[in-house]
């Protein structure tokens, strides 16, 4: 979070604020339409294809493919970098 306190180039700062505001707006708009769906009517949501993590091993393997080849790991419950000397 230290980047929030630091002076950054104007374009970066504007981009950060714009992205953060857009994401918050999307989540806010989506959450405002929430209804409580009783468990008896959540059959479709229980389908294997709707799980946030469809297969945890497959998700870890794909995640590793990306984190060892790109500079943008983290944000998925794991610390970004470290652990395999190649997390960039």
């Amino acid at each position: 979070m230290r980047w929030l306190l630091r002076a950054r180039p104007p374009l970066d700062a504007r981009l950060s604020r714009a992205v953060a505001a857009t994401l918050l707006a999307v989540i806010g708009a989506a959450s405002s339409g929430c209804v409580i769906v009783p468990q008896s009517r959540r059959g479709a949501l229980a389908d294997p294809t709707m799980l946030p993590v469809e297969d945890s091993l497959e998700a870890k393997a794909r995640d590793k493919l990306h984190t060892t080849r790109e500079a943008a790991s983290g944000g998925n419950g794991q610390p970004a970098g470290g652990g395999c000397a190649c997390g960039n």
């Binding site: 230290r2 950054r8 950060s16 959450s31 709707m50 091993l57 493919l65 983290g74």
Partner: protein, 414 residues
Amino acid sequence: MGTSLGRLATALAAAAWATLGPSPASADEAAAALAAKKELEARIAEEDPGWRWEALNLQTSFLYQEGRGLQSQAGPIGGRGREDAWVLQPWAQFRVRQNDQVVHELTVPVDIVSAASTDAVDAVSKASEYNEAVTLDLTSTYSPSEVVDMSFRFGFHYEEPMRSFIGGPSLTFKLFEENTVIGLNMIVMSDGFDPHNWEGKDRGFTARTSFGFNASLVQVLSETTLLDASFGTTQQWGTLETTWNSMVVHREPTEEDPRTVVRDGERFPRSRNRDAFFVRLSQHVPGSGTTGKVGYRFYLDENATFAHTLEAQLFQYIVPWLYVRAHGRLHTQTSPDFWVPFIEEGFVESTKRTSDSDLEAFTSREAGLRVVLLRERAPLAIRGKDSFNLEYLRYQRDNGLHADFGSLGYQKTF
């Protein structure tokens, strides 16, 4: 069943009275309450089957890559290194239930890597062209109520020339009849490794520590729509560079040394903060057996690296027990402010620098296909409590790297 529940409720009430109620008026009442409490404990012990297997997940993956991005030392000594590599990943995951409230999940990923960049010893000795890594990763979860899960994760990672510990707690809250699930976790990872330099010299021992905090949300939006989002921040300290990575140094040739290019190591800041945000919308269409997911991820760090990742997945049931998933991913990133393609001779040693092509500004594209067979839903003749999956994906970067990934998986519930 009703009688059994009634007796259990009576015993429970008596036990609660014995534990929380006022002092019994007589010795008989005290004895009766104690007997009821013992009966309740006996019934609980009798009905809890104890330790048992709950799930097994096996996956074997194979990856082959060619092109830049690999700073392998497994080629000719002093050369640029091989620019192809393969990775074999036999992974396993076991879930064991201790009782109704406690479950343990052990993940064991094993990686066997050819021409690994971490195998810097090869730069001078070629003692090994392969690098093996194994991790033991255990997460134990205690569920004291239907609303809260408390977990603790502990893991150990070993690979030549490195050892890592990972650990941290997490909390999950399931609110509004599980329409909203909020997760919070903290995790610490500590790496200790031999800092081989690009010439293969071992300079002793060094370490780095990563501390991460993550928050996640899963929100039911309708009977067929789901939103999930997560945010993670990581602070790192210590030796962050890959000590065996080298970069080109341009120099003026002299009579004694006619070389125009020599090499030197990269250097990173001693600390770094990284943040990432992810949001995804999932929609199921029951009539056609179709599910669509669209996700976006934003990343930035204090070295001015920005990244945007867009991912879409489409699931389609062919029959009720077999579905196909197609996915596409587009990723674009800027380079950190200390990335340079080369440096000039006479540079100041403390200058932050890297030429690692994984950190260069680039765009990557990925497309893949996955087939999943759910035997639980299959016709009676082949029905079982397991599933199989097969996957292939192609990953391509516009700075000269491509990879092919294939996997075969098996999952079983007990």
